[in-house]
């Protein structure tokens, strides 16, 4: 039994059956990649996991508890963090403040009415945020406005924010989309390090096969809203059905 269990999930948008009968089991402490051509339903599936969408049929459970009907912040408090395709950070706030917000979410829960406490007196949250920034190599940018950073730095910040809550499951939605090759390689190294250092399960949606085959231990191929095949990277590479549906005849894999 995996930490994340998706059973018979279906989702329809008007006339489009985005997902149908999706079954997926993500084992604890593994990196599980979900790949598939455009429109295969990868992002829809991810949105069903974090409460942004509610599936029409089926069930989604995390660590034995159903996530259906829960609000995004509740699902996050259960231990699922998500990194978005375009980095979602607090652009108007400083990098340091960006790091402190998940710290407060972890320490105080979903809501805390503390208008008379001093922000600068929250030593534990500040120390934790500073440590996380140093770990990501963002310490010298702590007073910068987050919006003015490069895309690569924004991505690092977002990953750092998600990790600072010690999630048990980290969902990554095309973490290297739009990145230069060097930034992509840095991100791969970062994710590898995270995987080695922590007890964490990672589910990743990715187009870049280089990223997928560098990281993933299991791969699920999604096509037209249904899982086509699930296997290890080595088996996926040579799988004829995958070549046909996704990789095409001409492309040479990895």
């Amino acid at each position: 039994m995996g930490i994340l269990e998706v059973k018979n999930v279906g989702k329809r948008f008007g006339g489009l059956q985005a997902l149908s009968d999706v079954n997926l089991s993500v084992a604890e402490n593994t990196v599980h990649a979900i790949i598939g051509p455009n429109g295969a339903g990868k992002s829809t599936l991810l949105n069903c996991l974090i409460g942004k969408l509610i599936p029409d049929t089926g069930s989604v459970s995390f660590d034995g508890q159903s996530v259906l009907g829960r609000k995004p912040f509740e699902i996050c408090q259960m231990g699922i963090s998500r990194v978005f395709q375009t980095p979602e950070i607090f652009g108007d706030l400083t990098v340091m403040e960006n790091m402190m917000i998940p710290g407060f979410a972890k320490r105080d829960g979903a809501f805390e009415l503390n208008p008379m406490q001093r922000l600068l007196a929250q030593k534990d949250v500040i120390a934790h945020a500073e440590h996380a920034l140093e770990d990501m190599g963002l310490a010298d940018k702590r007073h910068m406005n987050a919006a003015s950073m490069s895309r690569g730095d924004k991505r690092r910040l977002e990953i750092a924010m998600c990790l600072s809550q010690d999630p048990r499951l980290l969902l990554l939605d095309e973490p290297t989309a739009g990145m230069a090759r060097a930034d992509t390689n840095n991100t791969i190294d970062l994710l590898k390090r995270i995987k080695d250092e922590r007890d964490i399960t990672i589910a990743i949606i990715e187009h870049d096969m280089h990223v997928v085959f560098s990281l993933a231990e299991r791969i699920t191929v999604l096509a037209q809203g249904t899982p086509l095949v699930e296997d290890t990277p080595d088996n996926i590479k040579g799988h004829p059905k995958v070549r046909e549906a996704y990789l095409g005849e001409t492309q040479e894999v990895a």
Partner: protein
């Protein structure tokens, strides 16, 4: 000190000195000079400065921090006003129970309206708040004013009548006007120095003292983890929700706090003048506080107070300049020129003061999106650059000498 850092503390001290010395600062011209009409240091106007300052400080906690633009805050101002007058009618003319009740009722009212309106954001939230404020206005103006159940006294406005109970009022010992422990809100000490006349008014100093407390609390809110969460709401609500934070109670708390500030301002309006009318709840009053906040600088600490002061100054000073005054100013010109000048300026003063305000508002929003505070910061930066240049240049020329 007081849980503030040095910079905030000095800002608070400056504001405290300015408000305490306002009767002096706002009366720069001798009482019988031609410029005396620009003096703003009379009790009625000074009270409006600080009361609307409180209103704008509270509005800024909602709009400046969370970005939720409410077009219905005048409803809370009105609720506060009515609550305070009701305390006068039932208990007596001491202002403290009235002010306390105005904060409580407006807070409850804001909680109710916030629960409904905060289900939407952006323009829909603004429209919902506007709708609620207009409904409140209609309630106050007509619905809640009928012979069977007269809560607001409709068009006439709620006021104290001779046959009201006033259980704790002792008209032998206490003034028949709002007072604080026997000291009438209208008590004014006039001090003449040379040609100048300064007025120190009880009502003003009570309101100013309360405004300082409100300002201090606003600084604390801005500098708290809660305040940072409110800025996070404005910056990226999606990220906030996917970070395990529930943004709804944060916005609701901000809405209720700013509603309580508005109610307090309404209560003080009644405390200095015990008459509460429905027009205080009209949408123009809601729009005014939006203008004040944007004009001064939304999201800044001192901006809303400056904006409130500027608008109230225009409303009360510019509106009093009529054609006679203008003729007086330009009497030194030949007749034709005099008439021409008066004709040119006429639309912008007197009843046309809104036109001047509108032009200033457009200029500020276009060239200083951060409001008057941004203007001040730019001037400050220019001065400091000049100073550092001046400091540099003598050093570089010295060797040549």
């Amino acid at each position: 000190m007081l849980g503030l850092n040095a910079k905030d503390m000095s800002l608070l001290i400056v504001v405290a000195i300015l408000t305490m010395c306002a009767p002096l600062i706002l009366n720069p011209f001798p009482a019988d000079s031609a410029m005396a009409q620009f003096n703003a240091g009379y009790p009625d106007l000074m009270q409006k400065f600080v009361i609307f300052g409180i209103f704008a400080i509270g509005f800024n906690i909602l709009f400046g921090l969370t970005g939720y633009l409410s077009f219905g805050h005048a409803a809370f101002l009105g609720v506060g006003s009515y609550s305070c007058v009701w305390m006068f009618k039932l208990l007596g003319y001491n202002v403290l129970p009235g002010i306390a009740l105005s904060v409580v009722t407006s807070g409850l009212f804001a909680l109710l309206i916030g629960l409904i309106t905060l289900r939407r954001s952006g323009i829909y939230f603004s429209i919902l708040t506007l709708a609620f404020a207009q409904m409140s206005f209609a309630l106050a103006y007509s619905v809640l004013s009928n012979p069977k159940f007269n809560l607001t006294n409709g068009e006439t406005g709620l006021q104290v009548y001779a046959n009201d109970p006033q259980w704790f009022h002792n008209s032998e010992r206490l003034p028949d006007l709002p007072h604080i422990f026997g000291l009438s809100m209208r008590a004014t000490q006039k001090v003449s120095v040379g040609g100048w006349e300064f007025q120190f008014n009880t009502g003003y100093y009570l309101c100013a003292f309360i405004m300082l407390i409100c300002f201090y609390l606003a600084i604390r809110i801005f500098r708290s983890p809660f305040g940072m969460m409110l800025r996070a709401v404005k910056s990226n609500q999606q990220r906030m929700n996917y970070t395990g934070l529930n943004s709804r109670p944060y916005t609701l708390a901000a809405f209720v706090i700013s509603g309580m500030y508005a109610g307090l301002a309404g209560g003080l309006l009644s405390a200095v003048d015990p008459l509460a009318g429905a027009e205080r709840m009209q949408w123009t009053a809601s729009g005014e506080v939006v203008l004040m906040t944007i004009l001064g600088g939304a999201g800044t600490l001192i901006g809303p107070v400056l904006g409130a002061g500027l608008i109230k100054y225009f409303e009360n000073i510019f509106s009093k300049i009529n054609d006679n005054v203008l003729h007086g100013w330009f009497s030194f010109l030949p007749d034709g020129m005099e008439d021409l000048m008066v004709t040119l300026i006429h639309p912008f003063v007197g009843k046309g003061w809104h036109l001047t305000l509108g032009i200033i508002f457009m200029l500020v929003v276009t060239f200083l999106p951060g409001g008057l505070v941004e203007g001040g910061q730019r001037i400050g930066r220019m001065l400091s650059r000049k100073k550092s240049k001046e400091a540099d240049s003598p050093a570089s020329t010295e060797p040549a000498e």
